[in-house]
Subunit: 203 residues, 2 copies
């Protein structure tokens, strides 16, 4: 059988969707591997180039963006963080799956560059639950909370642009993780992803 | 949340693919329900109209075909067997999934009538294994066997027209059943099958 490429899986979810609870369970159970990200932030003590991150200057990072060498990137605390296409390819070529957790604009860009990518929107069961979860954290000012909820509403409305919608119901993070793992398992069986199936069969 | 329709799942597989071993495991574990088929064969003792089958005369069956009321049908031992659309709809409306085991032409016709149907081709791991499985049965003349293998080769070549390809490896019927169940689980999460997702979310 010809070498199977891994699956590029993109998960987006508004604040309160529980990505931080669900995705580690997916990573632990599925055939996933991490790709080494690039960043402009300085290495912390003990971090190694090419292991924790590829450490780039701001100029080098922007040059890579301009050259189309970044699969996706974002800024956080005035630093760039991104996934070099080369690193993503390295993972997919091994046959392992790659999971990227990115917001809706980034996800749309990945789908443009990699139409084979599978886009999953992780959602709380309802907006009422989402609001309750965010308020329950109690770590933000009302103003910051309202802004975050507005952003979340915008993100949820992009769900129809995704391939799949998975709901993370209260206390059912395992079920949401199992949903995502079923999607990964099913997508790898798609006839369109196995163009050599018939040839291989008779080989 | 709006009522979710069940999934129409069509499985085809050449002789030796192990449908008879795999599909009962799928039916037992997934949220499937049987639809009542129609037939022109006479009821056997104890069989009940509308329970085991809808018993039709040849003329009535052919009239239903002509009226486009049969989702699919086939002939076996000079009798018609088929799935009335009304019966299939009745199952799907309950939210349960419906599994039809039909050959490649019938599967293509179902997909035309129900573009939402999910088509799965179940295959032995290779043609060599397929031939070995059929020869292993030892119940056929060489001529009948060769004819069956020719038919199987034709069917396998239709695999690219299916949505998914699942391999039933020796001794791994449970794995093939789990593959099909993952496909069903994933397909029900498709954004395209949940057009009311965003509206429901904010309801």
């Amino acid at each position: 059988m010809s070498r199977e490429r891994g699956l590029l899986v993109v998960v987006s979810g508004p604040a309160g969707s529980g990505k931080g609870t669900v995705l580690p369970r997916v990573m632990a159970a599925g055939n996933f591997r991490f790709s080494v990200s690039a960043t402009t932030r300085a290495p912390r003590p003990g971090e190694k180039e090419g292991v924790n991150y590829h450490y780039l200057t701001r100029e080098a990072f922007e040059a890579r963006i301009a050259a189309g060498e970044m699969l996706e990137y974002t800024t956080y605390c005035n630093n760039y963080y991104g996934t070099p296409k080369k690193e993503a390819e390295a993972v997919l070529e091994t046959g392992c799956n790659l999971l990227l957790e990115i917001e809706v604009e980034g996800a749309a860009n990945v789908k443009k560059a990699y139409p084979d990518a599978v886009l999953i929107m992780l959602l709380p069961p309802s907006y009422a639950v989402e609001e309750a979860r965010l308020r329950g954290r109690g770590t933000e000012s009302e103003e910051a909370l309202l802004k975050r909820l507005e952003q979340a509403r915008y993100e949820v409305k992009q769900a129809p642009r995704y391939d799949y919608i998975v709901y993370n119901r209260d206390g059912e993070a395992d079920r949401a993780a199992a949903d995502i793992l079923a999607i990964v398992r099913a997508e790898r069986l798609r006839a369109g992803r196995n163009p050599d199936a018939v040839t291989d069969y008779f080989a």
